[in-house]
Symmetry: C2
Subunit: 307 residues, 2 copies
């Protein structure tokens, strides 16, 4: 990175194969996983240290696909005892619903996130959507006072609420979607839900609302930003992971986590997530390039400009 | 009005009594109706010429309540043959649903909107949510080339689609909510729905998304704006009417219907609608005053400011 202030980002999450059926297409078996999307999105902005696990079937082509970006793979375990985490699902009409048709944890079942020595002091940490116990074990290994962002999902809220609640005071930024914010707080009003989440630990909360954009809750105030006006959704899988990856990548690139830096990071995250939904897997996210993302960021700023 | 550019607004719609039950309160019989909310909201910005009908039970107190604002009542018919239009409804948990429990059309059943001579050349026309045949009959009486904005509802889309579709090429601005935009176009993607509505006639389309704000579709581009962060909803009835009244009132006050004027009008409409939901009837909308609305407009601008 030419900018000396740019900091690396540690990203922990799933690296997986997905097989997705939408109302109009079928993906086949494609590269997916929360850490995959987040790492590629973040790597546009900052070098990434990836921690995850894949199985004996992951293949050199996929390793090389990740390596094509500034993503360090020392922390990617290759476990020869089984296959890579596999998920398949079907989206309903207009992507209004999603049904899981198969989940094979494979080598992910006994995944123990281990940080290589060189990763421990990474100043920006992104805990992707994995079991909260694993998110805790990552934080147990870091040294210094990194900025920590975390994602979660309805599954963990339902079956592992206690470790998730205990995680909240250990993180700086929680990024959840609207349904998750309501599940976690019991508040249907998103403004009140965001405030309650901040009281539960993280100083900064972002609530993602899909096509309706996102809300940032911060000690300095509230920020509301629309989604990019996407008209051709092929597959929304990974949009949230891409959003979070670009968000933390942008903070690391600015080496600033203040209110202004967070707002700029949200613009970037919004633009980046809009690319992910336009193709299966990370195809569009990878091929888009800096110029396309920068153009969408400019479009987004224009979209809300009153004068 | 001290500003010589401010133009009057003709508003046609229902003037009614509502009786509303929410999860936490009961309104009793209160002043309502699409023209009532729209007129009070618009009257903060521009003088209003009101066309509607009330019955023998409307009462001098309610007449005076309207007259306390710059609302001309020459066009308000008082029909001694029956009662005022009455609607009652129950909102479900979190205002996620609304059920009509009683509708008494009363004198509204045979309402014939008649424009007093002095109203016919009003340069801004707001067709509130009434039967599309009545909206046509209003336009048949205007002279000159006024700027015409119209609202509608799911009922008319279901039972009077043909006159509604024929209305669209006669108006300049259509303001609908997200569900109505989907019903009218068959498009689930709101960006595509807005574009299709523009192709159906109106040069300008606004899609309201409740707590998620609104979208403006215009030849010069797209504008997205969040809702005001309301945390205490008492009764959402009339929010859409207040939004439209403030929107058209703001255009009339600016005497400008360009893209920039529309954006400023949407900020004003958003702030105004946020007041309506904080009380039953028009109570909060009436008592708030210019300073409160201006403060909310400033807050809204701040809410989306990136730098």
């Amino acid at each position: 990175m030419s900018n000396p202030t740019v900091q690396p980002v540690l990203i922990v999450g799933s690296v997986a194969f997905d097989q997705i059926t939408t109302p109009t297409a079928e993906s086949g078996r494609v590269l997916g996983g929360s850490a995959t999307y987040a790492s590629i999105a973040a790597s546009y902005l900052a070098p990434v240290n990836l921690v995850g696990v894949v199985g004996d079937d992951f293949g050199e082509a996929n390793i090389n696909r990740l390596r094509a970006h500034p993503i360090d793979l020392e922390g990617l375990q290759i476990d020869p005892t089984g296959g890579t985490f596999f998920w398949s699902g079907i989206y309903g009409e207009n992507f209004a619903s999603r049904e899981t048709t198969d989940t094979q944890l494979n080598v992910f079942e006994h995944f123990e996130p281990t940080l290589p020595e060189a990763y421990r002091a990474t100043p920006y940490v992104l805990l992707g959507n994995i079991h909260p116990d694993l998110q805790h074990r990552v934080l147990d290994q870091v040294v210094g006072q990194p900025f920590v962002a975390a994602d979660t999902m309805n599954l963990w809220i339902n079956i592992s609420l206690d470790p998730l609640v205990r995680l909240l005071p250990r993180i700086d930024l929680l990024v959840v979607n609207d349904d998750e914010s309501r599940m976690l707080t019991g508040e249907s009003n998103l403004i009140l839900a965001g405030r309650k989440l901040r009281e539960a630990g993280p100083q900064i909360v972002v609530i993602k609302k899909g096509e309706h954009g996102s809300l940032l809750f911060h000690a300095d105030g509230l920020f509301a930003f629309p989604a990019y006006p996407v008209t051709r959704v092929e597959d929304p899988t990974g949009a949230g992971d891409s959003y979070l990856g670009a968000l933390v990548g942008s903070l690391a690139a600015q080496n600033d986590t203040g209110f202004g830096a967070l707002k700029r990071a949200i613009v970037r995250a919004t633009a980046t997530a809009s690319l992910t939904v336009e193709s299966f897997s990370c195809d569009r996210l990878e091929e888009a390039g800096d110029d396309t993302i920068a153009a969408r960021c400019a479009e987004l700023q224009h979209l809300v400009a009153v004068d």
